[in-house]
Amino acid sequence: MSDEKQTVSYDKILRDAAHKGAGIHSIKKTYPAYLILIILLVLSFFVRDIVSNQIEGELQSEFNKSTTNVISRIETVNLRNLEVLFSMSGLYDLIIDVVRDYFELYATIPTRTYTSISGISYIAQVPKRSLSEFVFYVRSQGYYDFEVQSNNESDLYYLINHSIPYSRNIHRIGFDLAPEKQMFNAIEYARDNNKATSTGFYNTRPDTLGIYLITPIYKYGTEREDLNDRRNNFAGVVAVELNAQKFFETALLNEFLVGTTYTPIDTTIAYKIYDKDENGELFTIYSSTNADLIDSDYKPMIKKDETILIGDREITIRFYTTPTFGGQLTANMPLASLIISILISFAFFGFVYAVVTSRSRALELADRMTRSQRRIVETSKDIIAVMKFDRNWISMNPAAKDIFGVDEIEVIGTSFDDYVYDDENLREFNKILNIKADHEVTERTYLKMKSQTEKFRWVNWSFTISPKDNLIYCIGRDVTIEKLAEEQTMLQQKQLKLAELFAREAIESKNFFMRKMSFQLRNSLTGILGFLQMVTGKIYETEEERDSYVKLAEESSEEIFTFVSDMIEATVIQDKGTVSFESSKLADIYNAAQSHYTMDKDVNHNVKFIIDDDTKKVKVFGNIETITIAMYSAFDILSTGIEKTEIIIQAQENNYERIVEVQILGSANKLVSEMIGMYKLNSENTIEALKYDKDDILLKISKINAYFNIMGAKLTVDSLGVEDGNLITFRIPFNKV
């Protein structure tokens, strides 16, 4: 409450609001967004790793396919060469003596077909002691220029007997290969194991790297089961000499139909093929066209070594991926995924940040609105307050100071009733609270409220009764000035109306008097004129009779004198210019008045009427409508301002005064008692007294009096005391004209 009482300038509120706006971006409010950002950034690296692994797997698969393709091609060519070798070997198994023509016939086609084959040769094992026989034999096959080309000092020669294509190998006929250590070892291995084998790669010819695939040839039909048999029956070997460069080019390059230019089958990998020298050191026997990368500082994405067999020679192939492997996009995919993930992370961060701050902004705006509304409440001249159903204030704005004259903090906790001016206004408020509704209803009313600084204040209240909240929301506007002006206007209207009534009363009274006088004169003159006419017309028979006529005329003349002497006395009813002389039982008048009153009275009024049978039988003579209205007004006056009333009606004839007296007694009524006192005090100036009137009681009394004056009746009002009730008396004259 003390906070509510502070005086806060509007500028300060705005400054505070602006300051609060800066806090929207504080880490305290936006930490969820940052938390999400961190999580998303971590996830981004996970995504990158996942993408990287996936791509790596795919690339590895691709790499394996490429390497497998290389290996497969080499193996294919290798198998083909071995088939050629075994084909030639089989020739020796079929034919006792493979002469030159046979050999040429079988070997020519493979050597023409496969360019990697430098030659297919038959190399005969020739002991030194049989050299001359061998030379003779060879020359007999048409090699007339055959000469042994050897500086071999051992007893055993491995001399090339046949070598196809002859044109390219004629110079090698008679060449002794025994000194070539790899060839020698291979031949002996083949011989001893009866098994095809191969040499390593070495310069089989000057400047030409090659390899021999060899298979042992034993003498036709001889045993070769054990080593001795194989050595004793060994004749030589068939050797397929492969040009290493051409071998691998044939296997690994696509050969254009035109020309001899080779293009690599796969540029996404690089590789080098190694053989081992006698010391076990690798040396290059073939390189792919892009194999320079392998010797540079280039770090391939993937690399691996594979071993394959050429013949039975194990060689090593070292594979590298090239920079173009997998494509640039694929290579950058992990990085790209990382960047995209980071961007998405920041975008989502931005979204969450915006949501978080927008909520804060909305709260800030709501806070500003709340402050503005509070400012309105605090500066409002109208009471804006809340009370509970027990009528105690639980909230009040500073307008209480202007209207009630007390600080709002003093009002809170007190009862609404404490500020209501009087019982009449409290009853009005009670009517509103008595409204039963199961939903929210708003009722408006004017109530006169107490004020510490003024006598009272008129407040136009709007009460919103909320059964749901169990609260009453109140808005009250000070309308004292307007209400007083309105009251003044109404007072003037009532005064004018009463003045008109009084003026009419005066006119009607005069009219009535004139009519009554006319009537009375006519009545009396009837006797005078009638008897005088009888006298003058001599309508009599005796002197006594004539004198009696004169006496009656005199009697009528005295009547006129009496009337003129008392001409002010009013007797009979004249209403609205229309003579209405009626006699009625009081019961009929009472029934009509009571019936109208019951129809018009407030539903909250509980009025009990008491009238005895003798009273009901009393007859009154006058304007029945006026008497009925007067009785109705008497009921109305006596019951004004209280909820429970008892009204006793009594009537009796007063023969002495020649009137019917009707007494109407109401229960104790402070307001009516007060107004009767006011009426009596101001009986000489009722119009002026209307400004003190409450609930039109003075006006109603004055009206009855005026009407009664017109018809010659009398009205008296008396208070028997505040605690004892109030009495209204009608004094209606007999019908005696």
Binding site: S518, R522, T526, G530, M534, I539, V579, F581, F734
Partner: protein, 123 residues
């Protein structure tokens, strides 16, 4: 004899005597009353030739007298004349509408009073 018996109801003594004297001299039998209630009681058991009544009587009005007489089978069709000091045209119409056969204003002309009464009652 009952044919010429006329009932006069008038609270003003000289007027009542004036009307009675004039009617008796004209040969009518007159029964007069100073108020309405006694006249009504008499008329319940006595048939008369006609009724002459004032309107403003001390107990009940001339209208009520006529109303009560009309309820009596004996005199339900007897002609009645209202005599009153009021002379407004509206009043005359009102009395005629109420059931009076004729309406006379005070003061009356002695020379024509009986003749007019006879004309009304014999018409």
């Amino acid at each position: 004899m009952s044919k010429s018996k006329i009932c006069v109801i008038e609270d003003n003594n000289p007027i009542r005597m004036l009307f009675s004297t004039l009617l008796r001299k004209a040969g009518y039998e007159v029964v007069d009353f100073p108020n309405g209630q006694t006249a009504v009681e008499w008329l319940k058991t006595n048939k008369c030739f006609g009724i002459i009544t004032d309107i403003l009587l001390p107990d009940i009005s001339g209208n009520e007298v006529l109303n009560l007489v009309r309820q009596s089978p004996l005199n339900k069709d007897v002609p009645a004349i209202a005599v009153t000091g009021y002379s407004d045209y509206d009043d005359k119409e009102k009395f005629l509408n109420f059931g009076f056969k004729h309406y006379m204003t005070k003061p009356v002309d002695v020379n024509t009073f009986v003749t007019e009464i006879g004309r009304v009652f014999n018409s």
